[in-house]
């Protein structure tokens, strides 16, 4: 009755072989027809590989990325946190140069840029990957994917600029996921655009080191930075990042003379306290000036924070009030009916200069970047 050792072995091997053979058949039978043809093939990814501009060698085969404050140390064959940069035999490469995973045309107000050519369309593009991971990411499909997981369009800088021109856009934005991770690509797009009269912008969380940001500022016309909170703790818990580098970037952009707007996404209960809003406004005034636009935008439940409600109107109105009281001249709040928080007013005479209805410019009383009524100069890119 009792089994001998040999029989148990035989049984085990028999089962394993049987299962293996069946499994093999299953994968053979299904692999042929299920493989999605739209994915870019691994070998075709080679044309998007470029030597990265910002890294240091650590010994013979390891590298350290110095593009963003994460400073990933990457061994051979590995990638950095962003998933779009790879160490190939001791050299560091970006895998997304010209590899656009998303292309779109938006009204410039949607970015939001309120002091940049009101009402104009802006040609927007993005690759996969991000150097942070925010719990409320709007673009998680892009930002949390690796390049090879997404279908891509082959848009090297010249072709991208040409496409933007054909669509009638005079503005270009590196946006959606995080332009920091495709800095070389954006840089060349901006250079190419500058040659052909198209201006480039960057919509970013600002989590980048100083050198690459200075390079970008040389080519870009405007930068929008998402300031997610005034607390380092928030950055660590909700974004896998830190606060200090973001503040440094904001100051740097201003110092480099590039047009700057700041967006603060107000998430109910997470970063909406009076104190935090006041700190944000005060910091903005003290470090980059009271004429830098500060947008408070409305949170919508998504990605991993699906169970929070949208930001109440009252909260946004409160933020607006606090920031105005701190002396900021251009404070905007999005999508609050009958609030007027999307309008631009003259800081000198107080008159309404630009009335916006979502993306529609209902009135515009700017003449050559000046208030039509009192001649006050309003900062921004108006022509």
């Amino acid at each position: 009755m009792a089994w001998t050792r040999r029989e148990v072995l035989r049984l085990g091997i028999g089962c394993a072989l049987g299962a293996g053979a069946l499994g093999g058949m299953a994968s053979l039978a299904t692999s042929g027809r299920r493989r999605a043809p739209r994915m870019s093939q691994p070998d075709s990814g080679a044309k998007w590989v470029r030597r990265a501009q910002y890294y240091e060698k650590l010994g013979p085969r390891r590298v350290r990325c110095v593009l963003c404050p994460k400073e990933c140390e990457v061994g051979p064959g590995e990638r950095g946190f962003c998933g779009v940069r790879e160490n190939q035999d001791g050299e560091y490469y970006t895998l997304v140069y010209g590899r656009s995973a998303s292309v779109n045309i938006d009204p410039v107000e949607k970015k939001p840029f309120f002091h940049v050519l009101p009402g104009r369309p802006i040609f927007s593009f993005s690759t996969a990957g991000c150097n942070m991971e925010c719990k409320n990411c709007q673009n998680w499909q892009l930002s949390q994917s690796r390049p090879e997981q997404l279908p891509a369009m082959d848009l090297p800088p010249a072709r991208l600029v040409e496409a933007a021109r054909k669509q009638g856009c005079s503005l270009i934005a590196g946006t959606y996921a995080e332009p920091v991770v495709f800095a070389e690509y954006l840089l060349d797009v901006a250079r190419e655009g500058n040659k052909r009269g198209l201006r480039s912008t960057m919509v970013s969380a600002g989590y980048i080191k100083r050198e690459p940001m200075i390079d970008l500022c040389r080519e870009l016309a405007a930068v929008k930075i998402d300031l997610k909170s005034m607390r380092d703790d928030f950055y660590r818990r909700n974004c896998r990042g830190t606060l200090k580098p973001v503040l440094d970037t904001i100051e740097l952009v201003k110092k480099q003379g590039v047009w700057l707007e700041i967006v603060y996404l107000v998430i109910p209960t997470l970063n909406d306290s009076d104190r935090e809003i006041r700190d944000t406004a005060r910091w903005t005034r003290e470090h980059v000036g009271s004429d830098v636009p500060l947008h408070f935008s409305r949170f919508h439940p998504q990605y991993r924070l699906k169970r929070l409600p949208p930001t109440p109107y009252e909260t946004l109105a409160r933020c607006h009030e606090i920031a105005r009281a701190e002396g900021l001249q251009y404070v905007y709040v999005g999508n609050v009916p009958e609030h007027g928080g999307t309008n631009t007013y003259c800081p000198k005479c107080g008159k309404l200069l630009i009335r916006r209805q979502l993306y529609r410019i209902a009135e515009n009383h700017l003449r050559g970047g000046r208030c039509e009524f009192c001649g006050q100069s309003i900062p921004g890119l108006w022509s």
């Binding site: 995973a101 779109n104 209960t269 999508n335 009958e338 529609r360």
Partner: protein, 819 residues
């Protein structure tokens, strides 16, 4: 029927024992339903999370009964042990609810979604103790049954299985519990009081069982137990008040209690502090990534979120919570945000995009969102009638009480009519034709919501529309990125809609809008035409204006989406009996959580029915290799057979519920009755079979016949389901009968399996093991069928796959004949 079983049992068991056994089933069922609903209020109530909770439940009960079957032979006085276990359960029930409200990351704090790992942990925290005691109780009761209620007298080995009778009475109790809950308790009594009530019954029963001993020492031990329960009862009564009424006035003590509790909970859960010390940190770093992520997801939940719960309400469709923050009122059902008061943007977009598509909308049907403010936007159009359908009367009631006046105003417009009931059913029986039907529902994350996105529903909507009518709905999407699972879901919807309507239009955006028309040429992607209609109808909207329309309908973007949709090769059709969309939604959800489960689930997507044949092959190999020897294998074969039968029961139950909902709509009480029919079948089957004296060899034949019959049922079931969909009026009776039959098969095979497994083991021990196998099989059936097989293979495919798996159990069972 149950009384027949009971009277039969009465010949053998004393009344208090019968009542105690019935109460055991009743308590079990009520605890299961209440605690599951409580957990789902925290989890996103999708199919995977429901199956997860169920699996945790069944597996912990199985563990309890496995433990019981190991301990039981050592218990000298099982009847007293049974009594004490009831006493213990009575204390644990309210406690489990407190744990659910208190320890789980975020009951009032719906912020972050939980991943499967955190769900598993939370479910375990809440359910483990209750389930362990429950499973243990079954084995102890089975052993006590052997004593026939006469303490001190040892039971001889009887041919009639007392375990079968215990099983029958337990099932009968579950039927009673199910009826009581579905028809009364869910809607009228809050969860705390329900559980406390069950606890009191248990204490009474325990006292009855322990009566002969009441006057000796153990009576003294009883006093603190009673005091504890009484304390919990008082607390729970206060807590109910606090939930439903007093929060409105927010008395100081209430808010103080809440903040104290939350503070303590914050501390409990913030495991972070543990990892500050270097010793712990290095240990933490050694944990696998999945475990660390689970821990950090537990800790990162913002517990202070949603500071102001305004009302809790029991509703049969799921726990409702109303919260208020800076004058914005939000409504949650089963943890899902239903709607919020300050959402003009979504309301405007949903209402105007749909009505602008029709050249002259007169009669409009709106399913969902009517009380949330959508009706107010719609009546800005020159319509003559607006029918709003809402499922849950409790939501309407709460909305009327808590929403600001200006949002409620449109509901008193003479053109607006509010209908309470299932939207699908309403569309099916709609009398006069509608110009526009607008669905404003969540994404199809569950089988119940998926019914509004199937080919059958689209065909019903087609019939309910006037000749130039249109159907409109929206899904979560993107305005600029078209790939991955979200695209797959959109593509499936596009194909499905295309099967019922000749023309459709998809507008990309964070909410993707789908429009379908009965006649070509009605829909328009030209923003100028729509802007013109907006102006001619004199609609004043804060957000939807000509620039918004121009941006939303940008041809560049629409073409990119269409191209991506056409290139999606994996897309299938979503139908009632082939509900693939909720599988897509489960995958999106897992993608969002970057859960380790996302990849395996994706790998399963090419699943084919014949995969289920693999176990048959393995079984044949096993049987062939062990030919000529009996013994060892038979025990395993019996347990596998019992598990297969358990899984079979759950598969049929799920399929019957699915078919019923498509045929007759979401009728809460009817669904409860269907489940009761299944449980009644269990009771009858096991009662009838337990009374027969069946020899071992004969039992083996019965088991094989049962497995064969179950396989046969799986083969003919798809035909039955299709027939039910053809003749909906027959559905209630046909499906109840089918479930009764299947239930009695499952119930009847239970005592047979115990007899087979018993051999040299004691009856209660065998009963415990078979019970555990039955539960594990059911849990596996729920997970495999609900999450994978039904959506990917369809109802028919899942059923055939079930037949194949039963075939494997059958082949293994052949070894039973060897003895």
């Amino acid at each position: 029927m149950t009384t027949a079983a009971a009277s039969e049992a009465a010949v053998r068991f004393p009344l208090r024992f019968i009542l105690a056994l019935t109460l055991m089933g009743l308590t079990e069922l009520i605890a299961q339903v209440v605690l599951t609903r409580e957990l789902l209020a925290t989890f996103l109530g999708n199919e995977l999370s429901i199956a997860l909770v169920l699996a945790v439940w069944l597996v912990s009960v199985a563990a309890g009964s496995a433990l019981g079957s190991w301990v039981a032979p050592r218990i000298a006085a099982p009847m007293r042990a049974f009594g004490w276990s009831q006493m213990l359960l009575a204390c644990l029930l309210p406690l489990a609810l407190f744990v659910a409200r208190w320890v789980q990351p975020g009951d009032l704090t719906p912020g972050q979604m939980l991943g499967p790992g955190a769900m598993l942990l939370t479910s375990l925290c809440v359910l483990a103790l209750v389930c362990l005691v429950g499973g243990f109780q079954f084995v102890v009761a089975a052993r006590a049954a052997g004593y026939r209620g006469q303490p001190g007298e040892r039971a001889g080995e009887r041919a009639v299985s007392p375990v079968g009778l215990v099983y029958a009475l337990e099932a009968a109790g579950a039927v009673l519990g199910g009826i009581a809950f579905h028809f009364y308790l869910a809607a009228h009594v809050g969860p705390l009081r329900t559980l406390a009530g069950a606890g009191v019954l248990n204490i009474v029963s325990a006292c009855a069982l322990l009566r002969p001993r009441l006057l000796n020492k153990s009576a003294i031990a009883l006093v603190p137990a009673l005091a504890a329960v009484a304390g919990l009862l008082v607390l729970s009564v206060r807590a109910e008040e606090f939930e439903i009424a007093s929060l409105r006035g927010s008395p100081r003590w209430a808010s103080l209690t809440v903040s104290l509790a939350q503070n303590a909970r914050d501390r409990l859960i913030s495991l972070d502090s543990l990892f500050v010390s270097p010793r712990w940190r290095s240990l933490y770093a050694k944990l696998p990534e999945e475990v660390r992520r689970t821990i950090s997801s537990l800790r990162a939940t913002p517990l202070s979120a949603l500071r102001n719960p305004r009302a809790f309400a029991a509703s049969k469709y799921g726990a409702l919570i109303v919260t208020e923050q800076e004058q914005q009122v939000s409504f949650y059902q089963s943890g899902v945000l239903l709607f919020t008061s300050g959402d003009e943007y979504s309301n405007e977009v949903a209402a105007h995009t749909a009505l602008l598509q029709h050249p002259a909308p007169r009669r409009v049907l709106l399913i969902g969102g009517g009380v949330a403010g959508l009706a107010g936007e719609m009546v800005k159009h020159p319509i003559t009638e607006l029918d709003c359908v809402e499922l849950d009367p409790r939501v309407v009631e709460l909305a009327r009480r808590w929403l600001p006046e200006e949002l409620l105003q449109p509901l008193s417009d003479p053109r607006v009519r509010l209908h309470l009931g299932d939207g699908r059913l309403y569309v099916k029986h709609a009398q006069a034709p509608y110009d526009v039907i607008v669905l404003n529902l969540p994404d199809p994350t569950t089988a119940a919501i998926n019914r509004f996105y199937t080919r059958e529903f689209f065909e019903e909507a087609y019939r309910a529309l006037a000749p130039r009518g249109i159907l409109a709905f929206n899904l979560t999407g993107s305005s600029h990125h078209f790939s991955g699972t979200v695209l797959l879901a959109a593509s499936t919807m596009h194909n499905t809609l295309g099967g019922a309507f000749p023309e459709q239009l998809v507008v990309p955006g964070d909410q993707m809008f789908f429009f379908a028309a009965k006649e070509p040429g009605v829909l328009s992607g030209d923003w100028r035409r729509l802007a013109d209609r907006l102006e001619r109808r004199g609609i004043e909207a804060s957000f939807v204006n000509e620039v918004w329309l121009q941006d939303a309908l940008l041809p560049f973007r629409r073409e990119m989406l269409l191209e991506a949709i056409r290139g999606e090769s994996e897309a299938r059709l979503n139908s009632d009996l082939n509900p693939v969309s909720y599988y897509h939604q489960t995958r999106i959800w897992l993608d969002q959580l970057s859960s380790g489960l996302a990849r395996p689930l994706q790998l399963l997507s090419p699943i084919e029915i014949w995969w289920a044949a693999i176990p048959i092959g393995l079984a044949v190999v096993v049987v062939a290799v062990t030919r000529g020897r009996g013994g060892r294998l038979t025990g395993a074969a019996v347990l596998i057979a019992a598990g297969a039968i358990g899984g079979f029961g759950l598969l049929v139950e799920l399929l019957a519920l699915l078919a019923f909902q498509s045929a007759c709509g979401y009728l809460y009480h009817a669904l409860g009755a269907l489940i009761a029919a299944f449980m009644a079948g269990l009771a009858i089957g096991s009662a009838v079979v337990s009374r027969r004296e069946i020899g071992r060899r004969h039992s083996a034949r019965i088991m094989l016949a049962g497995l064969g019959a179950a396989g046969l049922v799986c083969v003919v079931l798809p035909g039955l389901l299709a027939a039910v969909l053809q003749a909906p009026s027959l559905a209630p009776i046909a499906l109840s009968l089918a479930l009764l039959l299947v239930g009695s098969m499952v119930g009847g095979l239970f005592p047979v399996a115990t007899t087979l497994y018993r051999g040299e083991r004691s009856a209660s021990r065998a009963g415990g093991a078979v019970y555990a196998a039955d539960l594990v099989g059911s849990a596996g059936g729920a997970l495999a069928a609900g999450v994978i097989a039904i959506p990917l293979l369809g109802a028919a495919g899942a059923s055939y796959a079930g037949a194949l798996l039963l075939g494997a159990a059958f082949v293994l069972g052949l070894t039973l004949l060897r003895e």
